[in-house]
Amino acid sequence: MALLEVKDLRTQFHTDDGAVKAVDGVNFTVEKGQTLGIVGESGCGKSVTNLTIMGLNPKRNTVSSGQALWKGEDLLTAKAGRLRDIRGNEISMIFQDPMTSLNPVLTIGKQLVEAIQIHRDVSKRVARARALDLLKAVGIPRAEQRIDDYPHQFSGGMRQRVMIAMALINDPDLLIADEPTTALDVTTQAQILSLMKRLQEDFGSAIIMVTHDLGVIAEIADDVVVMYAAKIVEHANVFDLFNRPQHPYTWGLMGSLPRLDADVERLTQIPGQPPSLLRPPTGCRFHPRCPYVMEVCKTKEPALLPTARDPNHLQACHLDEETKDREAAKLAEMAAS
């Protein structure tokens, strides 16, 4: 059984202007020890997918449907108390902004100890020792002294390390990292990514890595889900995705990326902007921005289907395989130049 199996997940927010379908029929699975990357631009629903799995959406105006099976148990219908047991224990989450995710009036040590004592019946002393171990594991220098510091006394990279320590403190089976390195500098980002890789080897946790950065995905993910306008448009192994991308949106993303390994005079740009999820386009949601648009794209929504070559490479596009392979080869050639 997969560790996490998400089936036909849908989330709607009710607003004054109507219902916003922020997640619209998302399926994926996460196996033990695996890293799943979710990539997409702002507003594509990548964060909401995870908030829905964790039951963290505001109750007042949100309707979710589908299933998120955690070791066979549906998280969407689970009682609040049961969710509290799972969150921070079996599944933990790292948020984008380490500046605002820590409580500024409590010391780092207090917050870490609290995270343990909520889930484990241990004494403060034992919990503190565990907190100290984790701070050392994530590479906080002079952890014995720094454990009694307040968040403002830490730099951005250090705070993100503390967040990771807190997320790992109860040995979670799944770590959901929502843009964990976006607010950080490159050298710090490299530190955090290598730390996450190492901890994954040591603790064997699965990771869901949400990011808009294809570079980070290429470095860390095993499988990749590309989201556009609340839907999955492509889902493949990381090597297949970068070597043979099959969806025009993925091509656009890769072409619009200035990169160190290729020289291009002009970036390929995706014209226009992501659509409003209040009134998404008919047919394929990418069709108003797609350079390969055909008549069928405007009316018929493409299903997420495997390619002929590879049953594990899913894509949602009406284009014929020949054209897709040709475009994918062009991109690969560009990257090789």
């Binding site: 631009e41 050298t187 980002q189 290598s194 291009v264 740009q269």
Partner: protein, 364 residues
């Protein structure tokens, strides 16, 4: 020593046709204690002796991590901040000493694009007003001419001229950044200082803005100082790239030279840390992971400022003697006593500088 280094540091010999020459610019912010009798107890050396020149039509990229002084430097260049020392020569005049009135005509020649398209546009003013303001400040044209110019500018940056009467909140992030670009272009400047213009944008929108900036440069012969922390973006847009670390220039070189043959270990570490959107390449290389964080600019380390994090640190040399910018030919210079012999390097090779490098203090 510091003075001698700064003079020597002039990256390329100034040939006289530069649009902008920055000479040993320093910006210190005082750290004070006390409420009434404020006593200066220390200073944050945000920019500490930076020199470079830019030719007309060129793009100089400046990269560095947060707190390295790149934004402060940008503000010193267009004199949003007064410098503590040094000179900024714009078309042969030192603008750091000019009065407000004398500065005014020069403000038409250099403008700035800011990082945050949400914070840099006044939410209560209409787009037409925002773009027209620089024209009105400099009294360029009648109301009718101004309106025509604004609509022309909107078209140039790829917005609908009929959006003249809208408010900033009606636009997306990318469109707002286009408004910021239009405002910077309004007075027909020669130099535009772009301070992280695409950092807040999604990749597809980022590509649109980068292409727009390149097109405008071709059409109007603009000169850019382009500041960013993303090495991919800087490589794409720049002719020359300058790497800053803790208020100083670590390395400066023509674009391809810097990315292919970095000499400074900090540049090497940065390059090896940039995620590559290519899983085979990315996983095959070995990242050189720097330990720790950027130190505080209030108390910068002695000698070379990079020495506490440097894998090539040699005791008794790097922590004592501040390295000047050694020239490596064709406009390439790097401030390191033990420059990298080749690139790429793995972490082990990086930590063992060849002994011959130690001798090169004569600056050959």
């Amino acid at each position: 020593m510091a003075q001698a280094a700064a003079i020597e540091a002039t990256p390329a010999p100034m040939t006289g046709d530069e649009l902008l020459v920055v000479e040993d610019v320093k910006k210190y912010f005082p750290v004070t204690r006390g409420i009434i009798f404020q006593k200066e107890i220390a200073s944050v050396k945000a920019v500490d002796g930076v020199s470079f020149g830019i030719k007309p039509g060129e793009t100089l990229g400046i990269v560095g991590e947060s707190g390295c002084g790149k934004s402060t430097l940008a503000r010193c260049i267009i004199r949003l901040l007064d410098t503590t020392g040094g000179a900024v020569w714009f078309e042969g005049r030192d603008i750091t000493k000019l009065s407000r009135t004398a500065m005014r005509p020069i403000r038409r020649e250099m403008t700035m694009i800011f990082q945050d398209p949400y914070a840099s546009l006044n939410p209560r003013k209409r787009v037409g007003f925002i773009i027209a303001e620089p024209l009105e400040v400099h009294r360029l044209g009648t109301d009718k001419e101004v309106k025509t110019r604004v609509q022309e500018l909107l078209e140039v940056v790829g917005l609908n001229p009929e959006h003249y009467n809208r408010f900033p909140h009606e636009f997306s992030g990318g469109q707002r950044q286009r408004i910021g670009v239009a405002r910077a272009l309004a007075v027909n400047p020669k130099l535009i200082v772009c301070d992280e213009p695409v950092s807040a944008l999604d990749v597809s929108v980022q590509a649109q803005i980068l292409n727009l900036l390149k097109d405008l440069q071709d059409d109007f012969g603009l000169t850019y100082v382009f500041i960013a922390h993303d090495l991919n973006v800087v490589r794409h847009i720049s002719d020359r790239v300058m790497v800053m670390y803790l208020g100083k220039v670590a390395e400066v070189a023509p674009r391809n030279v810097l990315y292919q043959e970095p000499k400074h270990p900090y540049t090497g570490a940065l390059l090896s840390a940039v995620p590559i959107a290519n899983p085979e390449l990315g996983r095959a290389r070995e990242a050189i992971v720097l330990e720790g964080d950027v130190p505080s600019p209030v108390n910068p380390p002695s000698g070379c400022r990079f020495h506490p994090r440097c894998p090539r640190f040699q005791e008794g040399h790097c922590d004592v003697e501040d390295p000047p910018l050694y020239p490596f030919g064709s406009g390439h210079s790097a401030a390191c006593h033990y420059p990298l012999e080749r690139w790429p390097m793995n972490a082990d090779e990086m930590s063992r500088p060849s002994s011959s490098a130690a001798g090169r203090t004569d600056g050959t």
